[in-house]
């Protein structure tokens, strides 16, 4: 008896959906056992999660709040991953975007709100691109592995952020907390009333989704990205400027993460703190994969995953479960989905 693993000739999309559903079902089953062991009724726990994430106005709004940065980041990462460029640096690019937006918001407050907000988005976009540009150049010209450099750039960005909030940018009236002064009113993003949804960033995310869809289905550049990702040698043979594509997808994904950073500061936190991002840049990597590197898939994955995050918080608050249970819950669902992802691409058969 042995296992045989074989690549499927065609990854049927219908089977893919079925497998994903099965994965979620299995994860829920395993988690139900954990809940039971914790003395919590799993049915009640699940209904709480669903309610908290999707079926209450407040919960749904919170899900959208988390969806905004996750979607933006994941669209960008999907772009890079499609070209087989492994940008692990979205977190750092988000932080740099947030830093730039904060600086603009604090130092140009004499501008009218519309102009200031546009400038903050632009600043976030450019700062994210610039942060991604460094590893992109190293990769395109010197073949330095971008996994390592982008990851290390995250650590540097985090240190810059800490330096600023502990040092020169620290709020003099903040009772010594490591944080910048709050953004003035005209630097704050407009919200949907009664929620924390900063709809301008949501609109940018929607536009990005549309843009990447068109990019891949209609344009020469989208096609070149697919060729570079599919076979670099063939790309060179076709005369595609591979370095240009590498640079392009890297700074695009960096810029989008930077805009997510602007949204977080201008729409949610209104000031920089050392830990304002709960690791969106890393979560975005997972979502890009879960969404199959496809803008529509990424949208769905980002939305459901945001719901999971919100639902997990509710578990903690309402049911009094420890954070580790929530982490286990989120983690197990991911693990199952990623495992089943493999089954959609490969066939595993038991052979005698």
């Amino acid at each position: 008896m042995r296992l045989e693993i074989r690549k499927r000739v065609l990854g049927a999309s219908r089977r893919m959906l079925a497998y994903k559903a099965l994965a979620v079902a299995l994860a829920l089953l395993v988690d139900a056992l954990i809940f039971l062991a914790m003395g919590v009724d799993p049915v009640q726990a699940y209904s709480r999660i669903l309610e908290a994430a999707f079926f209450s106005t407040y919960g749904l709004a919170e899900t959208v709040v988390k969806f905004i940065p996750l979607a933006l980041i994941s669209y960008g990462l999907a772009l890079a991953f499609k070209a087989q460029i492994w940008n692990i640096g979205a977190e750092g690019q988000l932080l740099m975007g947030a830093i730039a937006a904060t600086w603009i918001g604090l130092n140009m407050k004499q501008l009218p709100p519309e102009a200031l907000i546009v400038l903050m988005y632009l600043g976030g976009f450019i700062a994210g691109m610039a942060w991604a540009f460094i590893p992109a150049m190293l990769r395109a010209n010197l073949r330095v592995n971008e996994v390592l450099t982008t990851f290390m750039m995250n650590l540097i960005a985090q240190k810059i952020l800490e330096y600023l909030v502990y040092g020169p940018w620290r709020d003099p009236h903040g009772w010594g907390f490591p944080q910048t002064p709050p953004l003035p009113e005209n630097a704050r993003l407009p919200l949907i009333v009664g929620t924390r949804i900063h709809y301008t960033t949501l609109a940018i995310a929607a536009a990005t989704c549309l843009f990447t869809l068109l990019l891949f289905s209609k344009t020469t550049i989208g096609y070149e990205i697919k060729v570079v990702g599919g076979n670099v040698k063939a790309a060179k043979y076709a005369g595609i400027n591979v370095a240009k594509i590498v640079l392009l997808v890297m700074i695009m994904s960096g810029g989008l993460a930077g805009i997510a950073g602007t949204g977080e500061i201008g729409g949610i936190h209104y000031r920089l703190r050392p830990t304002f991002s709960p690791g969106y840049g890393y979560t975005g990597i997972v979502i890009a994969w879960l969404g199959g590197l496809n803008p529509l898939g990424v949208t769905i994955a980002a939305f459901l995953y945001s719901g999971l995050l919100v639902g997990g918080d509710a578990l903690q608050v309402v049911m009094g479960l420890p954070q580790s249970t929530v982490n286990f819950f989120n983690g197990s669902i991911l693990l199952f989905i990623l495992t089943f992802e493999f089954l959609t691409k490969y066939e595993v058969r038991l052979k005698r």
Binding site: T220, I221, Y223, V227, A234, Y237, I240
Partner: protein, 515 residues
């Protein structure tokens, strides 16, 4: 003679999902001390079959008997225990170890590596079978023929009595090939039973018996004296390939006076950082086919890639239609009207996961006529081009939207050629264009090249297949160690002289054409 049967396969069937029967009801016997040839086109199921004899694959149906005893192999280890050994088409040697160490590796179920102990017995085997190789040489320094001898020594050292050789001659120069058949005869004389896989007729006829496979089935088992070459071809390709001219020859040269490609004293660095091409000069004229003969690894690939803009030129110049293209990029060269058929079809020629259409458009998508403002791709127009090409070159595709990796090797090659010829061209650089293709596709590809030259394209053809070179070329250049060591008009060339040059021999007094 039943006791002389050393290996027998009965009714072997092997199925590869979704729908391929690689072998269907194959019966096969091997007598002691015979050379039994397995003849068939690529994809006929030869390699699949012997892999089952060697325990690398398991048959879905049927039985295998070794010396009269029914066996079931779970891995090659079991087969080796029965004194069966297979030498793969691509050698499995550790390049950084010596010959003796490589032989010792095969027996490494011991704690201490028996690197030196093997030598006495190894030398003994070398003498007995005439397999001379210096035991202390590092394997990477050996020629292909010598590496093959090491593989055979490994087998003999492990005590093999049944030897399976998968396309053993494909990488040998003509001289080495001759030597190889002497070795086979010697092995046979010493009682080794040999299964010899080939798709070449002349080699098949050197065996004691020939079993012809076609599409996974045994067509016949015959003795060479009973059949003619034509009959063997018919068995190999079947009746459905009618009017197949195996031996195309050019009626007359179509060469015109204008040179399209001019290579002037070009030096090119290889991947290992040493010169792969050392001062080559060459011209190819409009309507002319120039064949470059040579054993792989003598600089042909590097030369072709430099012409196509895929490799740096260190010194000298390359002119296409009078334009200097040295160190220009691939698109610039392509836009001058250069078609390039790469050696590595899967590795360079296609993007396996993209669709047939997306692969077809690889060198068209950016052109003005297929885009709007160089940004939006007109997929409808490209689809029309693909449909034309599919019809014209008879490419079998399930759907233009299927991943190109679902196509067979022959159809992939046709698609690549169709893509390269879907644009205006004046120069075609073709690297091993028919390597590994079945007879029908090979003939089709050669036909296409001849047609193109008739229409005025200049063609530089790199091939290890001398038959192909002789069939197609107006002039034949021989490359050895990065240099052109001889150029002949086809009418004046002779196979022997070229073979000698390919192997690094001295040039005799042969009529040489002006370069």
């Amino acid at each position: 003679m039943a006791e002389d049967v050393v290996l027998e396969a009965r009714n072997i069937t092997k199925f590869f999902p979704p729908n391929i029967y690689a072998n269907r009801g194959v019966f096969f016997t091997l007598y002691r001390g015979e050379i039994h040839v397995l003849l068939g086109e690529n994809g006929a199921g030869k390699t699949t079959f012997v892999k089952m004899l060697f325990g690398e694959l398991k048959p879905d149906e049927g039985e295998i008997y070794v010396r009269g005893e029914k066996v079931e192999f779970n891995s090659p280890r079991d087969a080796i225990a029965r004194k069966i050994w297979m030498i793969h088409q691509h050698f499995r040697l550790v390049e950084n170890l010596t010959v003796a160490e490589n032989v010792a590796l095969g027996l490494a179920s011991r704690l201490v590596f028996p690197g030196r102990e093997v030598k006495p017995r190894l030398v003994e085997l070398m003498e007995k079978y005439g397999l001379e190789v210096e035991p202390d040489t590092l394997v990477w320094q050996l020629s292909a023929g010598e590496k093959q001898r090491v593989e055979i020594l490994k087998a003999l050292y492990a005590g093999a009595e049944i030897l399976i050789l998968d396309e053993p001659t494909s990488i040998l120069s003509p001289a080495e090939r001759q030597r190889f058949f002497q070795i086979l005869e010697e092995l046979k004389r010493q009682g080794v039973s040999i299964i010899f896989i080939t798709h070449k007729l002349d080699e098949a006829l050197k065996g004691d018996r020939i079993t012809v496979l076609r599409r996974g089935r045994v067509i016949a088992t015959v003795e060479p004296s009973q059949v003619s070459e034509e009959e063997l071809v018919k068995m190999m390709v079947g009746e459905d390939v009618r009017n197949l001219t195996l031996h195309l020859t050019r009626s007359k040269t179509t060469r015109k006076e204008k040179p399209v490609l001019k290579v002037k004293d070009v030096w090119i660095m290889g991947d290992r950082g040493i010169y792969a091409v050392k001062g080559v000069s060459l011209e190819v004229y409009e309507g002319e086919i120039v064949g470059i003969a040579g054993v792989a690894g003598n600089g042909q690939k590097e030369l072709a890639e430099a012409i196509a803009g895929l490799r740096q030129v260190e010194r000298g110049e390359i002119l296409i239609a009078g334009v200097n293209v040295s160190n220009k990029n691939a698109r610039f060269v392509a836009e001058l009207g250069t078609a390039f058929i790469p050696e590595d079809r899967i590795g360079m020629g296609i993007v396996p996961d993209l669709s047939v259409l997306e692969n077809f458009m690889l060198k068209l998508y950016y052109r003005r006529e297929f885009t709007e403002r160089k940004l939006l791709i007109r997929y409808d127009l490209l689809m029309r081009e693909l449909e034309k090409a599919v019809k014209r070159y008879d490419i079998k595709i399930p759907s233009p939207h299927y991943p190109v990796r679902t196509l067979s090797g022959g159809n992939i090659q046709k698609l690549i050629i169709a893509r390269e010829l879907a644009r205006k061209r004046r120069l075609i650089v073709a690297l091993h264009p028919t390597y590994g293709l079945d007879v029908a596709t090979t003939a089709a590809v050669r036909r296409i090249l001849l047609d193109e030259s008739m229409k005025g394209s200049a063609i530089l053809l790199v091939s290890e297949d001398l038959e192909e070179i002789f069939e197609l070329s107006d002039r034949i250049a021989v490359m050895h160690e990065g240099k052109i060591v001889g150029v002949f008009r086809r009418e004046e060339a002779n196979l022997e002289a070229i073979g000698r040059l390919m192997a690094g021999g001295k040039k005799e007094a042969v009529a040489e054409a002006p370069a």
